[in-house]
């Protein structure tokens, strides 16, 4: 019984972790907490939905053992790219002009506004009712003693791990990754080293928006697509990013897994009513012992 809760926690934690990566990258490179991060998750799912219905591919038969058809895999990279583009565009029209005039708090408040605008734009364009990528029923299959998972939910964990590994390689092995880590540590010195700060900011928005979109599409497939799907996750995203050590991409992902597990295990251990508070109890305990989070660097 507990094993099933652990498995469910890992699946939802992987999604929270993917979403929290964008939050932590934005904080590290741009220096502010972006409250519109949840909306990138929502928009990722709706971009995929629009592409499926727009191309008429949404009615393709499911691809066993999954409950979705091959077109979803086709539109997934496009939804990720479009959401990355949306994040860059939002930076261009809103955050970049404010960077020159407002401090970090001004950017945070602006992100609140952007969050409301983006969420309501979704309602305006797609309506308030929940939508689904597929009406096919997903059957859970036994994967370990006492644990049953649908193939879709297993794919969530596999894709999340793959995305995380790719991001880790990018941050540690590529020129862009080095530039991002350098800019997060000291943007003025990064410029002296020849790093184009605007280019690094753009890349951070692309990656953060794209990772959230991946989480959004996967969440949309395993649960449902609705205008508040990202906003509902926002507090968990913040808990994961802070828990992992703000600024650490790997930390945000591990933080997401801890948040997912805490929320899932709180149901049998504390009662379902305490589920929303569980992540914060863990956050409280970790920050008492390690104020910089699990993987955060001491300032």
């Amino acid at each position: 019984m507990i094993a099933q809760y652990v498995a469910d926690g890992v699946v939802s934690g992987a999604l929270v972790g993917l979403g929290a990566i964008g939050l932590t990258l934005t904080y590290a490179v741009l220096g502010f907490a972006n409250f519109a991060q949840g909306e990138f998750l929502t928009w990722g799912a709706y971009f995929a939905l629009a592409l499926l219905s727009g191309t008429g591919l949404g009615h393709a038969a499911a691809l066993p053992p999954f409950a979705f058809g091959w077109p979803l895999l086709l539109v997934l990279p496009a939804a990720v790219a479009l959401t990355g583009g949306l994040a860059v565009a939002l930076d261009h029209v809103l955050f970049r002009p404010l960077r020159r005039r407002a401090g970090p708090m001004g950017l945070v408040i602006a992100s609140f506004g952007a969050s409301l605008a983006l969420a309501n734009l979704v309602v305006l364009l797609f309506g308030p009712k929940p939508r689904y990528f597929s009406r096919a029923i997903a059957f859970a299959i036994p994967v370990a003693p006492g644990v049953r998972l649908t193939a879709d939910r297993m794919l969530v964990v596999a894709l999340a791990l793959l995305a995380m590994a790719a991001l880790h390689l990018l941050l540690t092995r590529s020129r862009l990754g080095l530039a991002m880590r350098a800019s997060a540590e000291n943007p003025a010195l990064a410029a002296v080293y020849g790093v184009d700060a605007e280019g690094v900011r753009r890349a951070s928005w692309w990656i953060g928006g794209g990772m959230s979109a991946l989480a959004g599409v996967l969440l949309g497939q395993t649960e449902q697509i609705q205008p508040l799907m990202g906003a509902d996750l926002l507090l968990s995203l913040f808990a994961a990013a802070i828990l992992g050590g703000i600024g650490s991409a790997g930390g945000a992902f591990v933080g997401g897994l801890v948040v997912g597990l805490a929320e899932a295990l709180s149901v049998p251990l504390l009662g379902a009513a305490y589920r929303p508070a569980a992540a914060f109890l863990v956050l409280f305990a970790v920050l008492m012992l390690r104020p910089t989070g699990l993987f955060g660097e001491r300032p």
Binding site: E185, A190, G194
Partner: protein, 239 residues
């Protein structure tokens, strides 16, 4: 002597209307070390930062080998031949020594990048043996060497150094200064801010005395070192 760096009538500071530099002009030729000395608060570091594009310039011009640098962002200056080593936080403490160097050489194509980094390891053997160490774990002298090696990777024609001896033990300072002499002998023009006036004048060929945001005197370093009126100049009295 061909002019590599020319600054004319430079007015610069952190806040508009509150200039720290009030019309500074100077020129730097090939292969010389010019020391910038002056009392605390005279604007020495501000001058270096303003040339490097780190402090807003309100008036005047800065040109590098005849090219006006107005509007050139800081990250393009290295490629144009202007190296700058800040006084503090001049390396990325969380990146390894190797990552610091690779990042600085990132604009070069693969084989040229590897050759450039290898050349710096040959010049600074202490760095080669610590390549995988985070730069934050280097000693003060090793950090200064890494900062120098990083700046040299882009083959600068002009090198701006903000107090390279700050916080270093005397023995380490002589190693750093010996390195600077070798760099200058290779044809790089060096503009150096130093608090340690004696050491700076012993190292430099020429010196500028900056007082109250203006050049109060320019002379051969040896002549200034021998001038008993230098202290008066520092105190704002006419020498």
């Amino acid at each position: 002597m061909s002019v590599l760096l020319a600054v004319s009538g430079l007015v610069a500071g952190y806040e508009p209307g509150l200039p720290i530099l009030r019309g500074v002009s100077l020129t730097l030729g090939e292969g010389g070390i010019v020391a910038l000395i002056g009392p605390n608060g005279a604007g020495k570091s501000t001058l270096i930062k303003a040339i490097a594009g780190q402090v807003p310039r309100f008036a005047g011009a800065v040109s590098l080998a005849g090219r006006d640098l107005a509007g050139t962002p800081t990250h393009r200056l290295g490629a144009l031949g202007l190296g700058y080593v800040p006084q503090v936080a001049n390396v990325f403490a969380r990146l390894t020594v190797a990552e610091n160097l690779v990042l600085a050489a990132a604009a070069l194509p693969g084989p040229a990048r590897r050759a450039a980094v290898a050349a710096q390891y040959a010049a600074f053997p202490d760095l080669a043996s610590r390549a995988r160490l985070p730069a934050g774990r280097l000693s003060g002298g090793q950090r200064q060497m890494l900062a120098l090696a990083r700046a040299l990777l882009a083959s600068p024609r002009v090198l701006l150094l903000d107090e390279p001896s700050a916080g270093l033990a005397p023995a380490v300072v002589s190693t750093v200064f010996a390195r600077l002499r070798a760099i200058a002998a290779g044809g790089v023009a060096i503009l150096l801010v130093e608090q340690n006036v004696g050491a700076a004048l012993a190292l430099a060929t020429r010196a500028l005395v900056l007082v109250g945001g203006r050049i109060a005197r320019e002379d051969a370093a040896a002549a200034l070192a021998a001038d008993p009126g230098l202290a008066d100049l520092f105190l704002g009295r006419a020498a």
